[in-house]
């Protein structure tokens, strides 16, 4: 059986888990191509105008998979991946939105992940999904456990300075080298599904690296320290990713090694609109730049802002006395 996994949204966090799980159950896993112009166009065509850019792109990925010969498309309903925290309302309705919006949709494997109270329902759902492929409950549980192991392997790679999306590439057997030359340490924050998608984020991470910056993202930091920092906020942030962003921002703010912080938000993103405000108010020691993107953003504008930001940081750090920006 062939199962398609759209290369969008939480692909960038959980792909190793999903792939291992389905492969161990004997399915062939097919992903859509990395986000490209056509994905974006297809997505914008079929999603409602008001949806955020990553959701539109996800529509594009699903439509691409619908054109292939597949038995199922895997569309998880991610409600909550940890106790008393949520992802975003749009993720909770995603399978229903796609079913309503795409008449050509292939059969969907829906997996509801809601561990906000306990994981009983998740376990049942995994068995239900596994039964599509096999009746052996042990095999299903083993496959899931194997998936979790692979995922944590991937997460360990992040300690070495790779972001989770690069970690997934390495996990898949690609070779990646991080450039050793850098003179600025920049923290880049944002939802992984927009930050690590080269088309959505317009490759912000690579661009910064080309400008001789070392890029830190939330996953490369000490996770326990992030949680400690996030706990400083009077009310716990109830979005999983939002809490990570707040924690990371405060962490970067309080450690000298970071020169500046960039926050990449998507237009219309609910959590970002609140979290961005909280971070802007709490980050007091470091230069902070808030970039909002959507499907209309021109690359040039983004590049200019990044260059200006880096120039400003270099001048501020006094790294070169005679430094004059080559960009004018």
């Amino acid at each position: 059986m062939r199962v398609g996994i759209p290369k969008g949204l939480f692909y960038h966090y959980y792909f190793p888990l999903w792939k291992t799980f389905f492969q161990d159950l004997g399915a062939e896993v097919v992903t859509s191509a990395a986000t490209n112009r056509r994905t974006v166009e297809r997505g914008i065509e079929s999603a409602v105008d008001e949806a955020c850019f990553p959701i539109k792109v996800y529509y594009g990925h699903v439509r691409e998979l619908c054109r292939q010969k597949l038995d199922y498309i895997f569309i998880p309903r991610l409600v909550s991946v940890e106790y008393r925290s949520y992802i975003c309302p749009k993720f909770m309705g995603l399978p229903d939105m796609l079913k309503a919006g795409l008449p050509e949709l292939l059969p969907v494997i829906e997996l509801t992940v809601d561990v906000s109270k306990n994981d009983r329902q998740l376990k049942q759902d995994i068995i239900r999904v596994g039964k599509i492929f096999t009746n052996n409950k042990n095999q299903i549980n083993r496959a899931y456990q194997h998936g979790l192991d692979e995922l944590s392997k991937c997460k360990n790679l992040c300690r070495e300075g790779y972001n989770i999306s690069e970690a997934i590439q390495i996990w898949e057997g690609e070779q990646l080298e991080l450039s050793p030359n850098y003179d600025l340490n920049i923290g880049v924050l944002g939802h992984g599904y927009s930050l690590y998608d080269h088309t959505i984020s317009m490759n912000i991470i690579e661009r910064l690296r080309k400008m001789d910056c070392r890029v830190f993202v939330a996953e490369t930091l000490d996770q326990e320290e992030i949680e400690r920092q996030a706990a400083q906020i009077p009310k716990k942030v109830f979005w999983t990713l939002g809490r990570m962003m707040v924690g990371s921002a405060l962490y970067m703010d309080s450690h000298d090694q970071f020169d500046g912080i960039i926050y990449l938000a998507c237009f219309g993103c609910g959590p970002d609109s609140m979290i961005g405000e909280v971070i802007e108010r709490k980050v007091k020691n470091k230069p902070f730049m808030f970039i909002t993107i959507d499907e209309h953003t021109g690359e040039a504008g983004m590049v200019t802002r990044l260059e200006a930001f880096c120039d400003m940081l270099r001048r501020r750090a006094g790294k070169y006395e005679d430094y004059i920006s080559s960009y004018g």
Binding site: E50, D96, C269
Partner: protein, 366 residues
């Protein structure tokens, strides 16, 4: 202690009654005006949804009028509303206002906890008095909603629409001034009687249901008084939610009357199978319920970028096609102008009307 709270439709009348019975001094924010919008927008995060901006405007105007304590509701995701109070407090503090903020977190299960929270708010109030205060506030709310229902009924049918609106406006003012439950009932009865004397048109009006996010549904300053706009176009509006129902379902957990929420959620299947936060599931459920009630059209309203409503909006076209009912979505933000809104509503009403003509023996005065 001078207490204030955000506006939401006629809620301030009931809340004021409740808090005054708790022997608290109340400073309600001035009615939402252009200035409220301006101040709120100036100090809010740009991409926050509109209710936050208006809340903030309300608070600033109330603080200017001498309030020193803000009562605000909390919540626990995934909708943004749960984090409103935190962000609003930060903004107001950075603007230099001195105030205390009391956040009423929705109690997880028991109405008893809520009464206790309300009791602790008051000064030297016994539990029994707190209950009585709630009851008194509730009676005003009930009367106001009964009047709203009458307004929705008579406005499209009456020939002299201005008179109906006037009766309603005066009644609302009087209820705000009333000091006893008996007086409230008296005003309600009188006004209903007066409305029923109006000269009526012969034809039956079109029926259009309004679904969507609750704040935009309840607050006329935000939805540009869409109920009356439609009423003036000879359309009977069916509201999908009333404040008392919402309180009964979510905060009092159906203690006061039987909740219809389970029915609404049952209607939402198979279109939407999971809670999506905010009012998204109810919006989908109500759309289907209204389709089953054979309403002529359905309008969804919500503040721009509202996440749960975007989920609902994505699903509504499918409901519209399968249940055969025209639907329209209106996003409201601080930049909308009434003229554009009226044009779109008129076009929708015309379309619905023509479809009904085509379907059968129905006539309408030109």
């Amino acid at each position: 202690m001078k207490i204030t709270f955000p506006h939401m439709g006629n809620m301030h009348i009931a809340v004021k009654a409740l808090l005054e019975r708790l022997r608290l001094e109340v400073v309600p924010p001035p009615p939402i005006s252009k200035r409220t919008f301006e101040i709120g927008i100036r100090h809010s995060p740009e991409f926050a949804c509109m209710p936050l901006k208006i809340n903030l405007g309300n608070f600033i105007e109330a603080l200017e009028n001498g309030a020193d304590t803000i009562v605000m509701a909390g919540g626990w995701g995934p909708c943004r509303f749960g984090y409103y109070a935190q962000v609003e407090r930060d903004i107001l503090e950075s603007l230099g206002y001195q105030f205390k903020m009391i956040i009423l977190e929705a109690p997880d299960s028991r109405a008893y906890d809520l009464v206790k929270q309300i009791k602790s708010l008051g000064e030297n109030v016994s539990f029994w008095e707190a209950l009585k205060a709630i009851n008194y506030g509730w009676s005003k709310l009930g009367a106001l909603e009964a009047l709203e229902k009458q307004l929705d009924y008579y406005l499209p049918r009456a020939r002299d629409k201005a008179r109906i609106e006037k009766i309603y406006n005066i009644a609302v003012e009087n209820i705000d001034r009333a000091v006893s439950k008996a007086e409230v009932y008296e005003i309600e009865e009188q006004s209903v009687k007066e409305m029923s004397k109006a000269e009526m048109k012969i034809d039956l009006p079109l029926k259009i249901g309004i679904v969507g996010e609750i704040y935009t549904m309840f607050e006329p300053a935000v939805n540009y008084d869409i109920y009356r706009l439609l009423g003036r176009m000879d359309v009977e509006v069916i509201r999908s939610a009333y404040l008392s129902d919402w309180l009964n379902d979510h905060i009092l957990k159906g203690y006061i009357k039987k909740s219809i929420r389970p029915d609404i959620i049952a209607c939402a299947r198979p279109y939407l199978n999971y809670e999506v936060g905010g009012h998204g599931l109810e919006t989908v459920g109500n759309t289907v319920r209204f389709a089953h009630m054979h309403l002529d059209g359905i309008v969804q309203i919500g503040p721009l970028t509202c996440m749960p409503e975007i989920v609902a909006q994505s699903i509504i076209p499918q409901i519209s096609a399968q249940e055969g009912v025209p639907c329209m979505t209106l996003w409201l933000d601080e930049l909308a102008g009434t003229a554009g809104l009226i044009t779109r509503l008129e076009a929708f009403v015309d379309m619905v009307h023509r479809q009904k003509l085509k379907a059968g023996n129905y006539q309408k005065e030109a």
